[in-house]
């Protein structure tokens, strides 16, 4: 049949668009959950601009009438916050770099090399994730004291440089990289170290970003570790340093909140910078966000 001979199409009926109540309900729930999550942050920022006595005033005054910007100046003078920030940076950066190195290195072996008892060893290592830190916190402290490492950042670096979770995360990602790439590289003449450095690392940016965010945020926000190991003011991190605003008789909540806002900034920067890879990483490592 030629095109000319085809019958003209009948006028098409467009069905009436119906209100999608399911979608509306989903949006309402999502907006409510978002507000619930954001409220404490907004409250913290609001409180950081208030006098101590106004912090807990009810009803909550979300936008202070006379914002106390001085809070953000006082926090640097009342306690050595600059030193604490430096300490925290030092600790976080060293731990993050070491964790990335050790995790991706071990993960490469577990994912791409063949050696006896590989899977048993991996399972045993991964099983340590299930052990709560509180269980071995004290013996670990005793051990570190034995090494003379209490009141040093080195103690925390030693404890946090290795993580079963990081190895697990990186290994799962490496498993998704075809073995043939490593084999092609071996035939091309590369050593295993070379393959790890020049093939696996560049290809695992999403996983590395994910691990960087996890490690950075965890180490930066760590409270219990520094609380146990660091008692001298010179080595304190920001999270336990802020506690110096709380004394026996007074709690300077305005300043605490101002310092908390400051301590949040690096975490936000790291997260925003790596967020694009992070989302990709969460998807590709099969982790739920």
């Amino acid at each position: 049949m030629s095109i000319d001979a085809m019958p003209a199409p009948a006028a098409l009926k467009r069905p009436r668009r119906r209100v999608n109540w399911g979608l509306i309900t989903t949006y309402v729930i999502v907006i409510l959950v978002t507000l619930t999550m954001l409220a404490p942050f907004i409250w913290m920022i609001s409180a950081s601009l208030k006098l101590d006595r106004d912090v807990f005033a009810f009803p909550i005054q979300w936008i202070p009438e006379n914002p106390r910007w001085e809070n953000f100046v006082e926090i640097w003078t009342k306690i050595p916050l600059g030193l604490f920030v430096m300490n925290t940076f030092q600790l976080t950066i060293i731990v993050t770099i070491l964790q990335l190195l050790t995790s991706s290195f071990a993960a490469y072996a577990f994912a791409k090399l063949r050696f006896p008892y590989r899977n048993a060893l991996f399972l045993a290592y991964i099983a340590t994730i299930a052990m709560p830190w509180q269980v071995y916190m004290v013996p670990q402290f005793v051990m570190m004291r034995g090494f003379g490492l209490t009141n040093t950042l080195t103690a925390l670096v030693c404890l946090q440089a290795f993580t079963a979770f990081g190895v697990f995360l990186m290994r799962q990602f490496y498993m998704s990289i075809p073995d043939e790439l490593c084999e092609a590289a071996r035939i091309d003449g590369m050593s295993e170290y070379g393959i790890w450095w020049r093939i696996m690392l560049p290809l695992s940016m999403p996983a590395i970003s994910t691990l960087t965010i996890f490690t950075f945020v965890t180490t930066w926000n760590d409270f219990l570790g520094p609380l146990i190991y660091l008692t001298k003011t010179e080595v304190k991190t920001i999270q336990i340093g802020i506690r110096m605003f709380i004394s026996q008789y007074t709690q300077e909540y305005g300043l605490i909140m101002a310092a908390s806002v400051v301590s949040l900034i690096p975490v936000l920067i790291v997260f925003l910078a790596l967020q694009r890879f992070f989302v990709e990483g969460i998807a590709s490592t099969g982790l739920k966000g």
Partner: protein, 367 residues
């Protein structure tokens, strides 16, 4: 000089043996193809030659050196993988140059070799692209180019065409054959596609269950298969088999209630005392005709009725699928044949080209 000898080569994974003590001599500059169904050990054999799998026992000799413990990079080989294995984060140029860079070749030599290979493979305009921006066929060429620039003595190709569409596969088959002639190197090629094997190889190695069944030129494999497996595997559509019993002192066979004549080369090959021996008669699809061909001795033919179940027109020929004497068969006849599904047609079987196999051992007589 890059002849390769596999001497009693064996590969075991735990208690499972996947390659059983195979012996194979591959001549320098030969194009040899390992072919067989999935799990026959062909890829494992190739990977042992590449050095990507440890050899459980036996020796692998390249040139005049036993290379069992020599790492892949020192074996003077290059490999093309089934999924190409191009480095996704590098450009085509970098992918091709990478092996030479690792060997600290001078920059100008690398440049020259990469450009030469790119010209030959017609990928010169793609050198700055990343692999993800290439089509399957282009990736395949880059993978070949990466192997070429190294100028290895031996090329190992592991099902390199299996991810391409049918048309491109045919084109690349010809390209690889030409490349072999141009490069003057030993090619060892693994495939499960017997058409690839037939069209490209100097010699074909047919493998099954970790054993080599036959090593020969493509035509010899087709004409003189040593057993039923090789006979059935080589050739498309595959050979038809009929259960028969030896009769009349080996000059004919019984098929159902009929007697079919056997050519002299088969009756002479039957061992003494073969009366009533259960055998399988093999006839290739092209040995069925609608009318007697002029060059065939009428005494060596038999008329057989076939119930057609499916007629597949291929253009140049017609494939008739159906039942003949209770056996499922495929006959390749002229496209002008009018038979269609449901018809009953009389075909003339040319028994002068028949094959005869022992039913128990499946070994061929007279080859």
């Amino acid at each position: 000089m890059a002849g390769i000898s596999l001497r009693k080569l064996r590969k075991t994974f735990g208690t499972l043996t996947v390659v059983h003590d195979i012996d194979l001599e591959i001549a320098d500059k030969e194009f040899i193809i390992l072919v067989g169904p999935s799990g026959c050990g062909k890829s494992t054999t190739l990977r042992m030659i590449a050095g990507l799998e440890d050899i459980s026992s036996g020796d692998l000799v390249i040139g005049d050196t036993i290379v069992n413990d020599v790492p892949p990079k020192n074996r003077d080989i290059a490999m093309v993988f089934q999924n190409y294995a191009l480095y996704p984060h590098m450009t085509v140029y970098k992918n091709m140059a990478f092996g030479l860079e690792l060997r600290h070749s001078p920059r100008e030599i690398i440049d020259k070799k990469v450009n030469e290979a790119a010209e030959i493979l017609d990928i010169a305009h793609l050198l700055n692209r990343r692999p993800k921006a290439l089509s399957g066929g282009q990736r395949q060429r880059v993978a070949l180019g990466r192997a070429m620039v190294r100028s290895p003595a031996v090329f190992l190709l592991d099902e390199p065409l299996s991810n391409l569409d049918a048309k491109l596969r045919t084109a690349m088959r010809a390209e690889i054959t030409k490349l072999h002639r141009k490069l003057d190197a030993t090619f060892i090629y693994v495939t499960h596609d017997q058409v690839e094997a037939m069209t490209m190889a100097d010699r074909i190695v047919v493998m099954k269950d970790g054993h080599i069944h036959q090593v020969d030129t493509p035509q010899a494999l087709y004409d003189r298969p040593v057993n039923m497996f090789v006979a059935g595997f080589i050739g498309a559509p595959q050979m038809n088999f009929f259960p028969v019993a030896v009769a009349r002192g080996g000059t004919s066979v019984r098929f159902g209630d009929r007697e079919l004549p056997l050519p002299a080369r088969l009756s002479e090959a039957l061992p003494p005392g073969s009366a009533d021996r259960a055998c399988m008669l093999g006839l290739r699809p092209e040995h069925f005709h609608e009318r007697l061909p002029v060059d065939v001795d009428p005494a060596m033919t038999a008329e057989m009725d076939m119930e057609v179940e499916l007629a597949e027109p291929m253009g140049a020929e017609l494939h008739l699928n159906g039942v003949l004497g209770g056996e499922t068969v495929i006959a390749r006849v002229s496209p002008r044949c009018q038979a269609r599904a449901g018809d009953r047609i009389t075909l003339i079987a040319d028994l002068s080209s028949a094959h005869l196999f022992d039913k128990k051992t499946e070994a061929a007589f007279g080859n």
